[in-house]
Structures are given as C-alpha cells and as structure tokens.
C-alpha cells in the first residue's frame, strides 16, 4: 500500500482522519492533533454561541490540517443538503462528510435519504464522503452516484465495538472503486490496525481518541496502529492454518537417549 491516501485527487500523508468531537477543550485537541499526525479533521455547524471563546478553526489552522465539515444531526436529505450549502459558505470548501441519520439511539444512517442527498450534492459539485452502513449494495450505489469515497461504519458512533461485521466490510472493499474509510466504531488501536489490514484506505476516528482517559496517548496509539495496519496489509500475511508450522527446523534435532522419548510420546505415536 502506497504511503499516501488520495481522495478526489487530493493527497494525504496520513491515513487517519480525526473527528474533533468529544475533546474536553481546544488545548487537548491541539495536542492530540499533533500526536495523531492527521491531515484532515471533521467539524460541525451549530448555532452561534456569542459566549463561546476561541474558534476550533484557529486550532485546525495552526495545525495546518484540512477541514471536513459534517452534516451531523440531519435526519432528512433536505436538511443535509441545506447544511452542506451552509458549510460551503462557512468554510469555503466543497468537501462534505455526509451524515443522514435514521435513528437517534444508534445514529445509524438512513439508506434512502442518504443516497438521495448524495446524488443531489454530487450534482452540485460537492466532494461527497458519505457516512454509510456496512451494506455492500448501498456502498456501491453511493459510489455509482459519484461519491468521492465511501465511509462504512464498523459499529455505531461512539460504541467502541470495533468492526461488528468484517464480512460485509470485506465485500465492500472487494468491489469498491473509490477509497473506503472506516467511519465509526473504532474503540482502540487494534480496531484501526485491523481495518487497514482488511484493506480500508483510512480510518476516521473521534470518540476512541477524544474520550479516552488519555486522548493524546490514544491519538499516538491510533496513529501508529494505522501505519502498522497499512504496512501489514501490504506485506502479505501468513495464511491461517489449522495445524502448527514449526518455526524451528526438525532436521538436526539431537537424540540424547532412547529412554528420553517414552512410548506414550506423540512424536512416536504419529511416526
């Protein structure tokens, strides 16, 4: 796997996209950003709070990372499209992490509304990165309408359950013609490594880092895990075997005394 992640022609040196939600303050976010070595972060749009001090944009600017606005909180294609328009105005970018939620307890996507919104936004020249289920057919439909990547979930947002259905993910990966980003579900570093090993091009991770007891250490951990997974995925892992394969050669094994291998010995038994 090449070191670079390329989405819509843009090159990213890191395969970790950081969600900024959940950090207790901007200072910890800034340190986690540095530890993660990410090059793109998500942000949301909410009603202006005159009392709020400091803008997250300043934090992201100082870190020199790209901004990826999301449409979090939208339950219909219409709201998501409006939110995307506002995001383009607010951030001067046509990139959008498209979220259209169908249920407020699991925050799982609504397939029908999501596809409709994606189609509309692609027609309006947005670079659409949809947060989707692990349904391989829906993932291809999203690619077919022109999404720049597909971002299936491993498990619900913030659930930390990792990849609940590696089979579905592997089918998505097998068919995908655009980058596949695992979005949601990562609970710890090994989940991220596994996603890359399975063939994901990147991981989008928020809560696992922002809500860890030590967000900066976890940011570093997920950063290393993503690199490890990408390397391992490209290194040609050994197959899974039912029986052992000795790592020490049998040839040249000394024999110290007949008595040393009793009758019950399996080596003999099987010889």
């Amino acid at each position: 796997m090449d070191d670079a992640l390329i989405i819509a022609g843009r090159r990213f040196g890191s395969r970790l996209i950081l969600g900024t939600g959940g950090f207790t303050n901007h200072e910890i976010l800034a340190r986690a950003l540095a530890a993660s070595e990410t090059e793109m972060c998500t942000v949301a749009l909410r009603r202006l709070d005159p009392g709020a001090r400091g803008s997250i944009l300043d934090v992201l600017d100082r870190a020199g990372v790209a901004v990826l606005p999301n449409t979090a909180g939208c339950f219909t294609a219409r709201d998501a499209v409006t939110t995307a328009h506002l995001a383009r105005e607010a951030f001067g970018t046509s990139w959008i992490k498209l979220e259209v939620i169908g249920d407020d307890r699991t925050l799982l996507p609504d397939a029908v509304e999501l596809l409709a919104a994606a189609e509309t936004l692609v027609d309006e020249d947005f670079v659409v990165l949809p947060y989707t289920t692990d349904d391989p057919v829906l993932a291809r439909r999203l690619e077919d309408v022109g999404c720049a990547a597909v971002m299936p979930l491993g498990s619900p947002i913030g659930s930390g359950m990792g990849i609940c259905n590696p089979y579905n993910l592997s089918i998505i990966l097998e068919r995908a013609g655009v980058p596949v980003v695992l979005d949601a579900g990562v609970g710890t570093a090994s989940d991220a490594a596994l996603a890359l090993e399975l063939g994901c091009d990147a991981v989008l991770c928020a809560s696992a880092i922002s809500r860890a007891q030590d967000p900066v250490a976890m940011a570093r951990a997920v950063n290393l895990a993503v690199q490890a997974g990408a390397l391992a995925g490209g290194a040609g892992r050994i197959p899974r075997r039912r029986y052992a394969e000795a790592s020490t050669p049998e040839a040249g094994t000394p024999v110290f005394a007949p008595a040393s291998t009793p009758a019950g010995n399996p080596a003999q038994a099987s010889a």
Binding site: G19, T20, G21, G22, F23, L29, T42, V43, A44, L45, R46, R47, L48, D49, P50, A52, S55, I56, L57, P69, N70, A72, T82, H85, L86, A87, E89, A90, F91, G92, E99, I157, A206, S207
Partner: protein, 68 residues
C-alpha cells in the same frame, strides 16, 4: 421588528441586514466559519450587506464547533 434568531425571538431595527445581525452577534469581520440561513434558505456571505431581514423571519446563524 421582531424575528426568530437561532430559535429565540429577537428585536432588530426595521430593515436590518444579515450583515448587521451577524456583527451584532459579535462576529469578527470576515466572520470565517459562520453561515446564515433565512427561512431555510442559505444567504451567501457576499449578499449579507444587501439582504434585509423581514419581520418574523426565522434566521439561523451558525458557526464551527467540534464535531464527529
């Protein structure tokens, strides 16, 4: 005149523009990271100075926050 700003009623001088509202809300000039919708329609920043607000309008003034 009275209108709804971010879900709360608010009084503004008649003919106040989006620009005026945004400034009153304390946006730095340029106001990067801010976007406005009036009655569900986005108002491009370039049109803030001209676009006058109507009484009873539902205005959403949004800004960047941490998010997933």
């Amino acid at each position: 005149m009275r209108l709804m700003v971010n879900g709360q009623e608010r009084a503004l001088p008649d003919g106040a523009t989006v620009q005026a509202l945004v400034c009153e809300l304390g946006m730095a000039e340029g106001g990067r990271g801010v976007a406005v919708a009036v009655d569900g329609e986005v108002v491009p920043r370039s049109q803030w100075p001209e676009s006058a607000l109507r009484p009873g309008a539902r205005v959403e003034v949004l800004t960047a926050v941490q998010g997933g």
